[in-house]
């Protein structure tokens, strides 16, 4: 009854799939994508919520980015931390941010956190986990603060405190021992900082600095590089050699380019009005 339309569509292109499987079979693997390794956390305090993340991005055993941003903007009242493949988390959050803006323009209201969660979950389920984005979504809307985790295959959880990423167990141990409901803002931020630092010091995939974002019903504070527990030490001595350490025996200077300066006076011709 419904006419099935055959159109050339955009989106992902799978033309190279056959070639790639053949190359993998012959021993040449696919290049490793940059992952975020990561410790990301979120917790709900008395007036809103606090999100935290470390800032290391890894490509295999190498640190690809020492100070990357893992807390992405989704809406004025919502932010999303991303773990997993770095490009996937960035593109997914950017796409959902655009979809939320379109949704907000058509409804004329502030977007709810469940809307963003549903959009993310449906998109990740559609791609069957091939988009490696594990996200912590947090925001404050008309119904109060909400904190969700979204896994790459599309499952979600709604919880008062969450951790994700390779350092999630280290961070969760801090939360499980010290979290209680109705924390104050300072207590919440310091608990998040301790949880991220536990991930930074105990997990190889996480490192560098601590980013914190505090969201409540009035405002959002983005505290980039809130703590820097891994500052590089200043070298005590200089290894530069002083001028004159090596004796100069002979000096000869040869100009490679002859520089000549000349001034040309250009007499302007009269206009031809004929």
């Amino acid at each position: 009854m419904t006419s099935r339309l055959q159109q050339t569509k955009g989106g992902f292109n799978f033309d190279n799939h056959v070639r790639n499987t053949m190359m993998e079979g012959k021993g040449m693997g696919i290049p490793k994508a940059t992952k975020t390794g990561t410790t990301i956390v979120g917790l709900i305090y008395k007036d809103g919520l606090v999100l935290g993340a470390d800032t290391r991005a890894t490509a295999g055993p190498i640190v690809a980015d020492k100070n990357c941003e893992k807390i992405h903007y989704l809406a004025p009242n919502m932010y999303c931390c991303g773990a997993g493949t770095a490009a996937d988390t960035e593109m997914t959050t950017a796409l959902i941010s655009s979809q939320l803006e379109l949704h907000r323009l058509s409804t004329g209201r502030q977007a709810r956190v469940v809307t963003a969660m549903t959009m993310l979950k449906q998109m990740l389920f559609k791609y069957q986990g091939q988009i490696g984005a594990a996200l912590i979504l947090g925001g404050v809307d008309i119904n109060g603060p909400h904190l969700y985790t979204i896994y790459p295959h599309g499952s979600t959880d709604k919880l008062p405190y969450v951790t994700m990423g390779s350092g999630s167990l280290a961070a969760m141990s801090v939360f499980e021992s010290r979290y209680r409901p109705d924390l104050s803002r300072e207590e919440g931020i310091s608990l998040v900082q301790e949880a991220i630092e536990a991930g930074i010091f105990n997990d190889l995939g996480s490192g560098s600095n601590v980013d914190v974002v505090v969201i409540n019903s009035e405002k959002v504070e983005v505290l980039r590089n809130y703590a820097k527990p891994n500052e590089r030490g200043v070298k005590e001595a200089s290894y530069k050699f002083q001028r004159g350490t090596t004796e100069i025996l002979k000096t000869s200077i040869r100009d490679l380019v002859d520089i000549k300066e000349s001034v040309n006076i250009h007499t302007p011709e009269a206009m031809d009005i004929s």
Partner: protein, 156 residues
């Protein structure tokens, strides 16, 4: 969506949430894709016949994504039929056919259909297909003859 009149027809309407990862013609490759007017592989247009490419396995996501929109539409139609009766999907299909304009023989680049986008809800959303591999920007050469033959009905 097939209309059944026998008792028990409700159980046969597919309420499939997601398309299968195997295309309906996955394990068998048809020679019709590259056939000339004699029904054989057209070596002049498509090169030597490669059996490997005919039975190669596809990525599990390829068919799922290609059939996604059609499957969601079918799900909506079937649920509307179960809840509101036959008139609901008939009305939806009627509105859809009103905005699908027949393509003239000269309109080879596919224009975006605004009416269809509004009915499908695509005017208020953005997806990967809107900025990745946009068909309008592709540099593939369109084989005019194959398209024309498809439209007239000579070839599948």
């Amino acid at each position: 969506m097939v209309i059944h009149a026998q008792p028990g027809w409700k159980s046969r309407i597919s309420l499939r949430l997601a398309p299968s990862s195997k295309a309906s013609s996955a394990s068998s490759a048809s020679v019709l894709d590259t056939s000339n007017s004699y029904g054989l592989h057209d070596t002049m247009r498509f090169g030597m016949r490669q059996i490997a490419s005919e039975v190669s396995s596809k990525h599990p996501l390829e068919n799922r994504l290609a059939e996604w929109d059609n499957t969601q539409m079918e799900l909506k139609m079937n649920m509307a039929r179960n809840m509101y009766g036959m008139h609901a999907p008939i009305k939806m299909a009627m509105e859809r056919s009103l905005v699908i304009q027949a393509r003239g023989p000269s309109m080879l680049p596919q224009r975006s259909n605004l009416g269809l986008d509004i009915l499908a809800g695509k005017d208020e959303s953005i997806d990967f297909e809107d900025y990745l591999n946009v068909p309008e920007m592709s540099t593939d050469m369109v084989d005019v003859h194959v398209v024309m033959e498809r439209q007239i009905g000579i070839r599948a």
